[in-house]
């Protein structure tokens, strides 16, 4: 905001670069999307963040019925990372449709609903209920939550199960379907291809990496569930590798997710071939993280004389 004014001298010299991106059927004003579970239902951030300036936002994972989530402790900070075991606490798809989405519709913002279920049928039910909801632009299917047994870990680690879930959701909705993959697999490519073949419009890569931490004084695990999902800068090189591999394995757009806190981080993903990126843990460090990254991307393009962010995509040099 202040920074836009500061940049105006540069803006006037060169034409404003284009940050718009197309992800299958979705058109975003810029490639920066707030990641599921780190941005609530969007409304929590509306005091701090002009939601209209985001490329998009993904709401907290939704299930058919409300879920209470896991006992405390749910968070543990690790070196440059954050372990979480929230346990997919959410208000349920009905309350989302009745209470949250109408309020979100006041903002001109691309809203994506992250969904999960305990069975392929539940995924389908949730997708059906959200289909065509006013103010919603698409679905992100979480086949990869490592926290809760029923949360989908069994789907996202197996190409056949992933195919089943995605095909079901594809049948249940006319909306754009993004599939969010699990990093906790030995080879992500067969799973990415299964999701593509089952009708996914795009892939998000990736969810959190399974990890754990121990308090050596009490010898207790730092999370109530012992293990949890690791996010934040610590996972960026790991997720970047997965994005690069996925991009080379499928023909649909890939959204890079994992450890992005600055425009440089975002650019790495885009150069590796991502169409867009998601920001998670960085929103906790600074609620303006997404907006700052949008501004910084614009500055980078200006400084490098690049007219359109898409020109950068997949430009990884041979060495």
């Amino acid at each position: 905001m202040i920074r836009v004014e500061e940049m105006s001298d540069i803006d006037s010299v060169k034409t404003k670069p284009n940050l718009e991106v197309t992800i299958g059927p979705l058109e975003l004003s810029n490639p920066v999307i707030a990641a599921s579970g780190t941005f609530g239902y969007g409304l929590e951030f509306s005091d701090q963040v002009d939601l209209c300036r985001l490329g998009g936002l993904v709401v907290k994972g939704l299930s058919l019925e409300p879920r209470p989530g896991n006992p405390q402790p749910r968070l543990a900070e690790t070196t440059a990372g954050l372990l979480n075991s929230i346990g997919l606490q959410n208000v349920g798809v009905r309350a989302f449709l009745e209470e949250k989405l109408p309020e979100l519709a006041d903002y001109d913002c691309c809203v994506l609903a992250n969904i999960f279920g305990e069975s392929p049928e539940e995924y389908m039910r949730v997708a059906e209920m959200l289909d065509g909801a006013e103010g919603l632009s698409g679905l992100e299917v979480n086949v990869s939550c490592p926290n809760v047994k029923e949360g989908g870990a069994q789907f996202g680690t197996d190409p056949q199960k992933t195919r089943e879930v995605v095909a079901g959701v594809r049948k249940a909705t006319r909306m754009p379907v993004i599939v969010k993959l699990s990093p906790n697999v030995s080879d992500i490519r067969p799973i990415a291809r299964a999701a593509e073949e089952a009708g996914a419009d795009a892939l998000s890569v990736s969810n959190t990496f399974l990890g754990m931490a121990i308090d050596v004084e009490t010898r207790r695990p730092r999370l109530s569930t012992v293990t949890g999902g690791l996010s934040g800068p610590a996972i960026k090189p790991l997720a970047l590798r997965l994005v690069w591999e996925t991009v080379n394995a499928v023909n649909i757009p890939v959204i890079g997710v994992g450890g992005i806190v600055s425009a440089e981080d975002a650019l790495e993903y885009i150069i590796a071939g991502a169409h867009a990126i998601q920001i998670g843990t960085a929103n906790f460090m600074d609620p303006l993280a997404c907006i700052n990254i949008v501004d910084e991307l614009e500055t980078y393009l200006l400084e490098h004389g690049i007219q359109d962010i898409s020109e950068l995509r997949g430009t990884l040099a041979e060495k």
Binding site: E44, Q72, A80, T281, T299
Partner: protein
């Protein structure tokens, strides 16, 4: 060259708008305890007793997350606010190194804050360690609204070095009683022993209201005492926070389900300390979960 300009611009852009508060002072209160005054009119003008702020201790990635601190006291007219903190880890250690005039990225005021009580003739405040930080501006507000009300602060810690801010309360006319585990100040024992004695001693507990802040385990005991003596009790909770603004569901506390929307079988209900709290009616909290 181009890259260099980009880097400079990037750094300038990043730092300017975030560095909102200027450190007026950052002084030692007692061993390991500090009081920091921050000049930040935007936050102090909105502050209320029991609200908190989060502070980005380092521009680097260590520590990663913002650190939450109760707003100890504030002056909206002059635009400052104070926090009182104890050095317990890397974040608070870095804070203790911050000097006068330095800028810090703060976000606040956050949370619901206290509701100033009605007509009780006697107010009891029970503070464990830095919990005292949550109760000072509450006492200020109560006294500003209702002259002559009797307020007693019970405060406890391991030793005399953990008993902070007592003078501030006494200057306002609050009676202060101290308990230390090693007996180096006040009564020897726990804060909750002191509270038990107080409640036992006051024959008329009808119009007493209790406010408490400190570690969860202590609050649990305080809540049990309040229940036993049937006095209303309000607590200010602390918890590990991710976002501090209600989005991540990391900081939750288990509460009893609202009897009005009871479902069968009863569902576990968690509420967010940062957004629904940090101030709760002690009777709402499922203390067995702690």
């Amino acid at each position: 060259m181009q890259g260099e300009i980009y880097n400079i611009l990037r750094i300038v852009k990043r730092i300017l708008p975030e560095m909102k508060a200027t450190v007026v002072y950052n002084k030692v209160l007692s061993q390991g305890y500090f009081r920091m005054r921050l000049q930040c009119p935007e936050v102090s003008s909105e502050a209320r007793p029991g609200t908190f702020l989060t502070l980005r201790v380092s521009e680097l990635r260590e520590p990663l997350l913002r650190r939450p601190f109760t707003i100890y006291t504030y002056d909206a007219d002059s635009g400052w606010l104070d926090i009182v903190y104890k050095v317990v880890g890397v974040g608070t250690w870095l804070m203790s190194e911050v000097g006068e005039g330095e800028k810090l990225d703060i976000l606040g005021p956050l949370g619901n804050g206290f509701t100033i009580p009605g007509n009780e003739s006697k107010i009891l405040l029970a503070a464990g360690g830095t919990g005292v930080a949550a109760l000072y501006s509450l006492a200020q507000s109560i006294l500003a609204q209702r002259h002559g009300v009797e307020i007693t602060l019970l405060t406890g810690g391991a030793g005399s070095q953990d008993i902070i801010c007592v003078d501030d309360f006494e200057e306002m006319g609050v009676q202060v009683l101290v308990a230390t585990e090693d007996g180096s100040m006040g009564e020897m024992g726990l804060l909750t022993d002191l509270l038990g004695d107080q409640l036992e001693g006051s024959l008329e507990t009808d119009d007493v209201e209790l406010f408490s802040a400190g570690p969860k385990e202590m609050l649990k005991k305080v809540a049990r005492l309040a229940e036993a003596y049937s006095i209303p009790c309000t607590v200010s909770l602390e918890g590990r926070m991710g976002c501090g603004i209600g989005a991540c569901l990391g900081c939750v506390i288990r509460v009893f389900p609202d009897p009005l929307d009871a479902v069968i079988p009863p569902m576990t209900v968690y509420r967010r300390i940062c957004r629904d709290g940090p101030v709760f009616d002690a009777a709402e909290i499922d203390w067995d979960s702690i």
